[in-house]
């Protein structure tokens, strides 16, 4: 298992490198000149040259990339073209907001989604299942920004119970979290239900029932445990998407997260900010995938066994009396 984890960790820098190359050169296709964006309305050629030199924009694109990469490896993502502040500091302020939002949402998602999804699968075609099915389809098809606006309109403007924007108190988190949660919940419920249904139909579940095991034991020990693999995949993937995908929620509820920072960076043609944000988001995504892979190993012994060392494999084979 350790070998498997090490292998995955070794892949991380290569993945990040590939992502950084892709993003860097895609950004260079933009028709706007970042130096012009940094200069005042009136500037001289000398000022232009000085600014270009200050930010290393007078060099060729590959040179710029190599310089950026060298600095990024040391944790220096450069200086923002717009704010002249170190990008790493700016991102450090934004990441916790997005992380908090994503973690809270994921916890609630799992807390509601798994029991309800399991219940729907167990009581397939019941009134409960059908109602949840309709609601989840409805939730999954709602655009987040529209839902956010409607929730603000109802709970903030009409009823005055919750703040419309900002993050000053715990109350401020309720609307953004639910706006973020509900569309994901619709999909999540359906995924959990589907994963459970696949398992419930399996022979081993039928066998367990035939043996006279308690229904609760059959569902949670045999069916649910086997349904966990797709559920883990979906939960991890959802969490990874949430961190960078909260831009709409951050925009609507004025949450200064990393999604909004990327958007600001794009609007300002602030390449160091865009690059750094994308790298951070990519890193979170890769970490989430890594955790999913590790959890696979934990949950499924078959996956664990594929990463058993040669010696151990041989020993097992010898014990069974076969050839290694």
């Amino acid at each position: 298992m350790a070998k498997f984890i090490i292998k995955r960790i070794i892949m991380v820098p290569f993945l990040l490198l590939a992502i950084s190359i892709l993003i860097f050169f895609l950004l260079k296709l933009s028709p706007a000149d970042p130096v012009l964006n940094m200069l005042p309305a009136q500037y001289t050629q000398e000022q232009y040259d000085a600014k270009a030199e200050q930010f290393g924009l007078d060099k060729s694109n590959p040179e710029q990339y190599i310089n950026w990469l060298g600095d990024a490896i040391r944790g220096d993502f450069g200086i923002s073209y717009k704010t002249s502040a170190p990008v790493a500091d700016e991102i450090a302020l934004r990441v916790p907001v997005s992380l908090q939002l994503s973690i809270i949402t994921t916890i609630i998602l799992v807390a509601i989604g798994i029991p309800m999804g399991v219940m729907c699968a167990v009581k397939q075609y019941s009134v409960f299942d059908n109602v949840v099915n309709v609601i989840s389809k409805f939730l999954a098809s709602i655009p987040g920004f529209w839902l956010g606006m409607m929730l603000i309109l109802v709970f903030s403007v009409r009823l005055g119970w919750l703040p419309a924007y900002g993050m000053d108190s715990w109350k401020s988190w309720i609307l953004p979290v639910f706006t973020f949660l509900l569309p994901y919940l619709g999909q999540y419920l359906r995924q959990v239900r589907s994963a459970m249904l696949d398992c419930i139909r399996q022979d081993y579940v039928r066998t367990a029932r035939a043996k006279g095991m308690k229904e609760r034991t059959v569902i949670f020990r045999d069916a649910f445990k086997n349904a966990l693999l797709p559920i883990i995949t979906f939960t991890g993937g959802t969490f990874a998407t949430m961190i960078g995908g909260a831009v709409m929620i951050e925009q609507v509820f004025a949450f200064p997260g990393i999604g909004l920072k990327v958007l600001e960076g794009i609007n300002n043609r602030d390449m160091p900010v865009i690059l750094a944000c994308c790298m951070v988001l990519a890193l979170f995504n890769i970490i989430a995938q890594l955790i999913i892979d590790i959890l696979y190993g934990v949950v499924d012994p078959r996956i664990r066994s594929t990463f058993v060392g040669k010696k151990k494999k041989r020993a097992v084979a010898e014990a069974k009396g076969g050839n290694a």
Binding site: S30, D33, E90, M149, M150, Y165
Partner: protein, 566 residues
């Protein structure tokens, strides 16, 4: 049985969901008592006398008249403001721009802050450029030749950190501006602190518009030279001003907290609101909802839908005219634009009133000139809407309609207008006219680089400093090239430069105006742009806000006048 129950539940759920959605979307036809009273206030605020409904209520934005400069936009002109600070008052002001740098020379989009935190020698009284009064200067003199301006500085003027404002602070501030924002100093030969309270500015040529710029604009406000020296020009800690507010805190992406200075040295500008939170909210609709639930007190917008929502919800709305945005032809980029026949023909083919009605409910007027001001020349018949004449002109000049090929650049604010404009051209058979929207920064970069076919650009035109638009847009080497006269007609360009130089060296306002008018006329007669629409900005207030004086050219409120109704 189960199926029937299920169907009932589904139907019930759907009906409930639709009812909630509709209830949330719609506004009640019968306004509540509170809304009704505030709608009446709107009527007062705007001074509207036009097409109001029979009950006298404002029913649409187009019923509201443009607010007069120098009057309280909340409609309570003449009401007495409280003396001193209203204890415990907090005003929430919306901005969608997270000001990253608030040293005045670092970011000229930061007027929402600079207007409150900085002061200058003179000030436009209640935003009115016709009424310039002393601020940090207690008096000033101009030499007979108009070249030497001597400002006497008040002895009681103080920065927010308590240090006295001295002439040397202006010298230090302007030294930094020379590097970061040299345009306001372009005609300044020298500036010198003769003593701690006397500042002498010598101009290269007599400039009757000088008074509107460097010594008056708060965006060029003075900063404390000690802090400037200590932290450098790019550090926000250098941003210590002498305005009626100071920045108490800044939370990146969230808000700025401004605190009023007690016993402010300029009693005329003593702030009344104790705390102003400038809230950074990226989404305008969220800000509107904040306004509706009272968590935002003031917001401004150019979006007609948002303005209509403000009116529908019985909130106070005032309108001010903002920029006009001529659609400039880039003859350097598009060869056919060099032909005056093409330019004039295209001018005949746009129905601006129809565009205004379609996109902006008729609120944005089609101005009668590229330029503003009472002496600006009006459009000639080259701009009369006559599409048949336009098509005829193109055909007579040997152009097939498909030969007219260009792309109109749009920032997101202009997308709808551009789409409607392109549709008009397409409907007339000019099927190769297209539009492309980029984000604001890309557009700005393309504007500076001149890499666009056509772009609606205001280009900094101001009635106070009308030469700037030519400095940037016409004169060779200008930083925002939009008037490509040199590429079109060298002789006409030389003539224009002659007017420009004559205006620059004018010693009297009359002479200056004459040359400017001639220059404006020349550019306009050459059809260097299609024409355009004038932006109208709406300022929305909660009904308890008073004392909003809006400077039209910057569309900013000087917050020191604001107060809450008791």
């Amino acid at each position: 049985m189960k199926k029937r129950l299920f169907k009932k539940i589904c139907a019930g759920t759907l009906i409930a969901a639709m009812a909630v959605s509709l209830g949330a979307c719609g506004s009640s036809d019968q306004p509540s008592e509170e809304q009704s009273s505030s709608t009446e206030q709107t009527s007062t605020a705007s001074g509207s006398t036009g097409e109001e409904s029979s009950s006298g209520q404002i029913t649409s934005v187009s019923d509201i008249e443009i607010n007069e400069v120098g009057t309280d936009a909340t409609g309570h002109e003449g009401e007495e403001a409280p003396e001193g600070i209203q204890e415990g008052t907090v005003l929430n002001y919306w901005t969608n721009y997270d000001v990253p740098k608030y040293c005045p020379w670092m970011d000229n989009r930061a007027a929402v802050l600079t207007y409150q935190v900085y002061s200058n020698l003179l000030v436009k009284n209640k935003g009115n450029s016709e009424d310039i009064v002393c601020d940090i200067a207690e008096s000033y003199e101009v030499s007979d030749d108009g070249l030497v301006w001597t400002f006497k500085i008040r002895e009681d003027a103080k920065f927010s950190d308590g240090c006295a404002v001295e002439a040397g602070d202006f010298v230090a501030t302007w030294d930094v501006m020379q590097e970061y924002q040299p345009r306001p100093l372009a005609n300044v030969e020298s500036y010198e602190a003769v003593d701690a309270h006397t500042l002498v500015v010598t101009l290269k040529t007599a400039d009757p518009t000088f008074i509107y710029g460097l010594p008056t604009q708060r965006t060029y406000g003075v900063v404390c030279s000690e802090e400037l020296e200590k932290y450098g020009p790019e550090d926000n800690r250098s941003a210590v001003g002498a305005g009626p507010f100071y920045i108490e805190s800044y939370d990146s992406g969230k808000q700025y907290v401004l605190k009023a200075i007690e016993d402010y040295w300029n009693t005329d500008l003593q702030a009344h609101i104790e705390t102003v939170n400038i809230q950074v909210i990226a989404d305008e609709n969220t800000a509107l909802m904040g306004l509706m639930n009272g968590s935002i007190n003031i917001m401004n917008t150019v979006d007609i839908e948002v303005m209509n929502n403000v009116v529908d919800n019985g909130l106070n709305l005032a309108l001010v005219t903002d920029r006009e945005n001529p659609f400039w032809f880039n003859a350097r980029q598009v060869e056919i634009f060099k032909d005056p026949v093409v330019r004039e023909a295209l001018c005949h083919m746009v129905n601006w009133d129809e565009l205004s009605a379609l996109v902006y409910d008729g609120l944005y007027p089609h101005p009668n000139s590229y330029f503003t001001g009472p002496e600006a020349p009006e459009f000639s018949d080259k701009y009369t809407y006559d599409p048949e004449l336009g098509i005829q002109m193109l055909e007579d000049a040997g152009y097939a309609l498909e030969d007219i090929k260009f792309e109109i650049l749009a920032d997101p604010d202009f997308t709808n207008l551009n789409v409607a404009l392109v549709q008009q051209f397409n409907d007339l058979g000019l099927t190769n006219v297209t539009t492309q929207t980029y984000d604001g920064a890309t557009c700005y970069g393309m504007l500076k680089a001149g890499t666009y076919d056509m772009f609606p650009v205001h280009n900094g035109y101001s009635q106070d400093t009308p030469l700037d638009v030519f400095t940037m847009g016409l004169i060779e080497g200008g930083t925002q090239p939009v008037m490509f006269l040199k590429d079109i007609d060298e002789a006409a360009y030389e003539e224009a430069v002659g007017y420009y130089e004559a205006a620059e060296s004018s010693s009297t306002l009359e002479e200056y105006r004459e040359n400017i008018t001639a220059l404006e006329n020349l550019v306009q007669e050459q059809c260097l742009a299609l024409g355009g629409l004038q932006v109208v900005r709406g300022f929305a207030f909660t009904n308890d806000v008073r004392g909003a004086y809006i400077a039209p050219e910057s569309a900013e409120i000087q917050m020191s006048y604001l107060y809450f109704a008791e």
